[in-house]
Symmetry: C2
Subunit: 388 residues, 2 copies
C-alpha cells in the first residue's frame, strides 16, 4: 500500500443558495481545490462524487458527477457517484484513498456536493427521511429528529446528561461558526437561547438540530511521495475507514457500536490513540450526536460526555477541540458535502491557516461522519485521521 496525501482542498460557503444550480455549487469546490494545488484540470485521473439527494431534490439523478465535471472542465476520465446518505462524501474519500493507495491512480479528486434548497421544506424533510428504511422506519415516523430524541432521553436517564449539556454543545459550535467565513450560521447564542428555542422532538429544540444547507467541498489526493510536487503543504492520510452497522444486535442506545468499531480500526491503522488527537470534526447532526461521539471516539470514558462538556474540554482552546468549524450545527449540513468539508477543515488546521479558529500546534486531526440510520445505530461510519 502506498501512503497518501491531500495536496489540495477547497469548499464553497455553506448556506442557502436557492438560485444556484448544483452544477455551479459543485464546480466552485472543484476549482477551489485545484487552485489550492499546482495541478491543472487535465492532471486529474479519476473523480469520486459523493452525493445523497440530487435525484430527489434537483431531478439530476444517475449522472450527477458527470454533469458537474463537464461544467468544471474534467472529462474523459473515470467518474462515478457514491451514495451513502450523510456519509456519501466521506465514503467517496475512502474509496479514493483505496484507488491511490492501491497504485491504480496518482491524482484523484473527491467532491462532496449537495443542493437542498429551492424546493419546499416538507419535500426536503421527506427526502432526508429516505436515509432510514422507508418501508419499516420512515413510514412510521421514526425519522431523524425523533430517533435522536429517543437517544437523548435514554442518555439523560442512564448517565444524567441534561438539556443544558446539549445546549452547551450548540453554544460552542455556534461560537465556532461565528469565526468561520464559510459557516451558514454566524450568530452566537446563550444557553438560554438554545433552551428557549422551539421544541422539535422532545428534548431536542430547534438549536439542537443542524440546518438545511447547500454547499460543496473537494479534496485532491496523491501518493505521499509525490505531494510536494503539487503543494507546499501536504497533509497526510494516516487512516481512512468506512464501515457499516451491525443491525442484528441490540445495543444500549447510548453509544453507536459502528462508530466505536470504525474509530478503533482507524486508530490502529494510524498507530495512535484518542489521546493523540489534537482536534476533531464530528457528525453533530443533533447536539446529542456529538455527545455520544465523545464517548465512542474515546475522548472520555462511557457516560462521561457531559463531564467533558462541563469542563469545556471540547471548546476552542480546550484539551480536545471538537467542531471548531462550527460543525453541522453552525457550519451547515449539505448532506453529501459534509464528510469532505470535515477533511477541508482539518487540512487547514494542520497547515496552520485556519484563521481565528486555528487550533495552535495541531499535528493530528480526526473526522467522524455518519450516514443513514437503522435499528438504533447509523448505517455508515467513516473515520479519517490526518497528520501534518
Amino acid at each position: 500500500m502506498r501512503k497518501i496525501a491531500i495536496c489540495g482542498a477547497g469548499m464553497t460557503p455553506f448556506g442557502k443558495f436557492p438560485h444556484a444550480s448544483i452544477k455551479e455549487i459543485g464546480r466552485q469546490a472543484v476549482w477551489k481545490a485545484l487552485l489550492d494545488t499546482r495541478l491543472k484540470p487535465s492532471d486529474i485521473q479519476k473523480v469520486y462524487c459523493g452525493n445523497a439527494l440530487s435525484g430527489a431534490i434537483t431531478g439530476q439523478e444517475m449522472i450527477l458527477g458527470h454533469v458537474i465535471m463537464r461544467a468544471a472542465g474534467l472529462t474523459g476520465i473515470p467518474i462515478l457517484t457514491i451514495e451513502n446518505a450523510c456519509s456519501s462524501g466521506s465514503s467517496a474519500f475512502t474509496e479514493a484513498c483505496m484507488a491511490v493507495a492501491g497504485g491504480f491512480y496518482d491524482r484523484v479528486l473527491v467532491l462532496g456536493v449537495e443542493k437542498l434548497t429551492g424546493s419546499n421544506t416538507a419535500h426536503v424533510v421527506k427526502a432526508m427521511s429516505s436515509a432510514t428504511d422507508v418501508e419499516l422506519e420512515a413510514g412510521y415516523g421514526l425519522i431523524f429528529p425523533s430517533a435522536f430524541a429517543l437517544l437523548a432521553r435514554k442518555h439523560m436517564e442512564v448517565y444524567g446528561s441534561t438539556s443544558r449539556d446539549l445546549a452547551a454543545i450548540s453554544v460552542k459550535n455556534h461560537n465556532n461558526g461565528a469565526l468561520n467565513p464559510n459557516a451558514q450560521h454566524k450568530d452566537k447564542y446563550s444557553i438560554d437561547d438554545i433552551l428557549n428555542s422551539r421544541m422539535i422532538a422532545d428534548p431536542l429544540r430547534l438549536l439542537d438540530c443542524c440546518p438545511i444547507s447547500d454547499g460543496a467541498a473537494a479534496v485532491i489526493i496523491c501518493p505521499a511521495d509525490q505531494a510536494k510536487k503539487y503543494t507546499d503543504q501536504p497533509v497526510y492520510v494516516a487512516a481512512s475507514v468506512m464501515t457499516t452497522g451491525q443491525y442484528l444486535q441490540t445495543n444500549d442506545l447510548c453509544s453507536f457500536p459502528v462508530n466505536q468499531r470504525a474509530a478503533q480500526q482507524a486508530y490502529e491503522m494510524a498507530g495512535i490513540g484518542p489521546e493523540d488527537v489534537d482536534l476533531a470534526e464530528v457528525h453533530d447532526c443533533f447536539t446529542v450526536a456529538e455527545l455520544l461521539h465523545y464517548e465512542d471516539l474515546g475522548f472520555c470514558a462511557k457516560g462521561e460526555g457531559p463531564k467533558l462538556v462541563r469542563e469545556g474540554a471540547t471548546e476552542l482552546g480546550g484539551r480536545i477541540p471538537v467542531n471548531v468549524s462550527g460543525g453541522l450545527l453552525a457550519k451547515g449540513h449539505p448532506v453529501g458535502a459534509t464528510g469532505v468539508a470535515q477533511l477541508v477543515e482539518i487540512t487547514s488546521h494542520l497547515r496552520a491557516n485556519a484563521g481565528e479558529r486555528q487550533v495552535h500546534g495541531a499535528k493530528v486531526g480526526l473526522t467522524l461522519c455518519n450516514g443513514g440510520f437503522m435499528q438504533g445505530e447509523p448505517c455508515v461510519a467513516t473515520v479519517n485521521i490526518l497528520k501534518r
Copy 2:
C-alpha cells in the same frame, strides 16, 4: 496487483414484478450468488451495490445497499451504493475489482439491482431521462429514444445501414431470449414483425427498444489464487475498465469514442484483440446501439456493422455471437442490474453451463455496458473481459 476471479454468480429472472419490493429482488440475487459458492454470508468483507433509480422510483434513496444487505443478512461490513446510470452495476464491478486487486479485501460482493415497475410508465420514463443533463438536454426532449434515433438516421445516411438491419438485430436477440429462462421476453419475431411494430422515434420502432424491467444480478469476486477454495469453476477477470466520455470534442455520431477508448484499454490489459473474443454481451438499449458497438469494439471495420448483421456473424453459432442472453432487448434492462447480469451470462458460458444457448468452447467473453448520455456519446463506458 493481484489477479481476480469471479467465484460466484447469480441473478433473478428479469421482468415486471410490480408486487415485489427492491429488497426482495436484491436479496434473491445476493443469495443466488452465495449459493453458487462455498461461502457463507459472513465471509463477505465488502459490498458494492449498483443502482440508478431507486430514489426516484421506490423512494428508498441514500442507503439502498444497506437495506438490501440487512434483508440478505450481511451487516457490519463496508457497504456503499454506486450510481452511474445504466453503468451503475458495471461501475460497481470495476470498483470491486480494484478493492480486491489492490489487496484491500479478499471476498467482495457486487450487486446490481433495479425496480422500475409499480409506478406509472410516464414517471419511469421521466426518471430515466435524468441520465442526461436535465438542464440542457432532457428538458428539451433529447431523451434516449430520440437521441438514438438521430444516431440511427446518421448511420443510415453515412454507411447505408437500413431499418431491416436494425430489425435483424432485434430478431436475433429475441431468438436468443427465447432460450434464456431468465429473459423478460421469450417471444420470437420476424423481420416484418419488427418493421410493423409501433413507431417510437423514427426510425426506431417499439421492438427496436428495450423494455422497462425489474431484476437483480450479483457476482462475488476474490483473488484468483483463492478462487478454487470457493468454487470448482472460477472465471478470471482479465480486464475491467470504466471510463467517461470526452464531451468537449465533436464526433461523427456514428461511433462512440468513449467505447473505443474503453475497449482499447481493456484489450491491452487482457493482452488480446477483438479477434480473440468468443462471445460478447453489449448494451443494446436500442438496436442501433448494438450496431455501433460491433464497430467500436473492433468486431468489424467502421461502417461494416450492417455487413456483419447480414452475414449472421453475431448470431448464436456465428463467428462472434453477441447478446446470446437476449441482450437488453429481450432479456430486459433493469438499469443498475444490467452490467452485472452481463457478467453472470458470460460466466455461465465460460463454465459451459449456459444450456441451450451455450457458445460451445467459449474461452474469452467480453461485456460492454454504457451509462448516461451527453453531447452525442455515453457518459460512461465499462468494458470487462473474462477468461476461463
